[in-house]
């Protein structure tokens, strides 16, 4: 048997299609991001608008959002391999791939954000188990490994990989045998660090608006809505943009229904969390809350987070008639994603825009400001473009969104492993 080498048909470039335009545009943004990234790495973080008063900004928001958006991976894998909801396997496959992209985006963000990217490995060597951020770093590192293993079969199942390196493809695909174990480890690690990211803020007594136990709960619940929402949205989008991609609309409908309920739970927690803070004046906390309800973050909060990010999608996703309209459902899913991103942005800033003075006479409040610099925007956009590019290529060449082939693949996998033993 002759092995046909994988070749990119060059003539395709001569007759550009809309998808080429999309990839070229993404490439352009990535290039701008890369150039800005080089500026950051050579000149230092002085090129950002971050200060000692607001040391965490846009990149941290993208980092938090990317991790939240990756939550579909652990949720759907747990549903498929631990709860036995096998029919969701194709969605779990897509979610895992999105998770891998999301975590790599988060790592990229952090590499630019920390002052010494050359020391990124320090947390793995110099342990401070008392630090939630240390725990997050360890969990993210371990979970990234799990995601790599979980996505290995996707690469192994790709036709062109099988054609070119049949042995490697078989080996990669056989990793799928351990999917339940990965699902379990992934569930544990994700529950830990998705919540701990909230606790990263929640344990800081110096920042009264953050200092509350609810943040860890809110972070994981919002991630459980946002992550699957992105998976469902990306799957539907890929199917409607490419004739090669086939999705099972019933599955996406069920997942969307679930997202609606998670979102309702999130809104419930969020309501009591915010409502409880409105009683009595507490220096710093009350000011932080008023930034959200009537200050510079109020549009984000009321419109972005509450109305568009929660109330409207809950109505659409919980109503079978509205949900069954594909465009409306896609809009609702996109709104969920936007709402979670807005929540991360608002949370990160609310604690930093308010400063409590330490002067003894009276505890007074100072306000700070932060608008990302152009370089920050470009690096951030570059990282997001990378994520979109990776997903587009995955959908095209790795078949990551395919609701027809996967159940078959599951069966094959067992045959393969049975054969090797």
């Amino acid at each position: 048997m002759r092995i046909k080498p994988f070749r990119f048909p060059a003539w395709r470039l001569l007759s550009p299609t809309p998808s080429h335009g999309w990839l070229i545009a993404l490439g352009g943004v990535m290039l701008a991001g890369a150039v800005s990234g080089v500026i950051v790495l050579t000149k230092g973080l002085v090129v950002t608008n971050l200060t000692d008063l607001v040391p965490w900004g846009l990149w941290i928001t993208i980092d938090l959002s990317a991790i939240a958006m990756s939550a579909g991976a652990f949720l759907l894998c747990a549903a498929v391999y631990l709860l036995g909801l096998k029919r969701f396997q194709p969605l779990a496959r897509t979610a895992t791939f999105i998770g891998l992209i999301g975590y790599s985006m988060a790592v990229l963000c952090l590499l630019f954000d920390i002052g010494r990217p050359d020391r990124f490995w320090h947390a793995l060597v110099f342990w401070n188990p008392h630090s939630v951020l240390w725990e997050v770093t360890i969990c993210v590192t371990l979970y990234f490994t799990v995601l790599l293993l979980e996505t290995a079969p996707i690469l192994g199942q790709a036709e062109w990989v099988q054609r070119r390196w049949p042995r490697l493809a078989r080996r990669l695909a056989s990793v799928h045998h351990y999917a339940p174990v990965f699902a379990m480890i992934g569930l544990g690690l994700s529950m830990l660090h998705q919540s701990s990211l909230g606790a990263t803020y929640g344990v800081l007594k110096a920042r009264p608006i953050w200092y509350r136990p609810d943040l860890s709960v809110l972070f994981i619940v919002s991630a459980m809505a946002g992550g699957p929402a992105l998976t469902a949205l990306a799957s539907t989008l890929a199917a409607s943009l490419s004739s090669k991609v086939k999705v099972n609309d019933g599955l996406i409908d069920q997942l969307s229904h679930f997202i609606g309920w998670v979102l309702a739970a999130y809104l419930y927690f969020r309501f009591w969390d915010a409502f409880a803070m409105t009683y009595t004046y507490e220096p710093g906390r009350t000011e932080g809350l008023s930034l959200l309800t009537s200050g510079p973050l109020s549009f984000n909060f009321w419109i972005g987070e509450m109305l568009l990010g929660a109330v409207i999608p809950i109505i659409i996703l919980l109503n079978p008639r509205l949900r069954s309209r594909k465009l409306l459902r896609m809009i609702a899913l996109a709104l969920v994603v936007g709402g979670v991103v807005a929540y991360r942005w608002d949370t990160n800033l609310a604690g930093q825009l308010v400063l409590l003075t330490y002067l003894p006479q009276e505890i007074t409040v100072r306000y700070t400001a932060y608008i990302p610099s152009l370089v920050e925007f470009l690096v951030g956009a570059g990282i997001v473009a990378y994520g979109l590019m990776a997903f587009t290529l995955g959908a095209r060449y790795l078949n990551v969104v395919n609701h027809e082939v996967a159940p078959e693949a599951e069966h094959q996998m067992k045959m393969v492993t049975a054969g090797t033993i």
Binding site: K43, G44, L45, V46, L50, D52, L53, P55, W56, L82, L110, D113, I114, G115, R116, R119, F120, H122, A123, F126, W127, N128, P129, H130, S131, V132, L133, W134, V136, T137, P180, V181, M184, G188, T200, V203, L204, K205, A206, R207, G351, Q352, L355, L356, Y358, L359, P360, Q361, K414
Partner: protein, 263 residues
Amino acid sequence: MNRRLMKRRDFLKLLITGAGTIAGMQLFQNVQANVHRAMAAGPVGESTHKWAMVIDQAKCTGCGYCTEACRAHNDVPPEISWNRVIHAGKVGSKDVYISRPCMQCQHAPCVEVCPVSASYYRADGIVMMDYDKCIGCRYCEVACPYGARAFNWETFTGDNPAVPEWGQPEVPRRPRGVVEKCSFCYQRIDRGLERGLKPGVDPEATPACVVACPVGARKFGDLNDPESEVSKLLANHPSYRLREDLGTGPRVYYLPAREEASS
């Protein structure tokens, strides 16, 4: 195939039970350790010293000599101040200032949150920075209630404008991308003790800001020594610490300016 599946399920159950037990025990131990740590009387150590600073607001004139001396001796860049002097209002007709070094907290939020343990307690209570470990994540900056920490947003190159007028650098300059802060001039304390000097008494063994203060508003010494000047001052005068409500247990004490002192 069904038997295979059952086996796998049993294996998973076993794994979950095992992992759950271990995780539960770990969690329990961790919670215990955290509670102990929060209640304990500060960092455990072998040192016989417990360094503290007392700043007399009745004497402080806000001249800022402390900041400049600190800048020179610790080679701090012009845009960073390890020790800030802030106008804090008036008592009677007299202006009152707060001079704010690092509080060297007993329960320092920065030490608790640092993911790489670049911030750590010395046995004598000084909260230290390991500039070789710091990755520059700035979590400590976000966590510090006193704004005592500063990030090196760019490389500090060229001459330090405070040198030589205010002194000579005694510690290496920090690289770009790490967080820095006041260290109670640990280098002066350590070198002084090696030479048999007494920090707080002998200028060479005392933090530069204390030595530079022209009105003697700053005192430094060992709280474990009841005869030290700081112990006596705190025993005989009302004093307070910044944001005591946070439970950080600062090692910097202030003697408040009072109306009668100004008249």
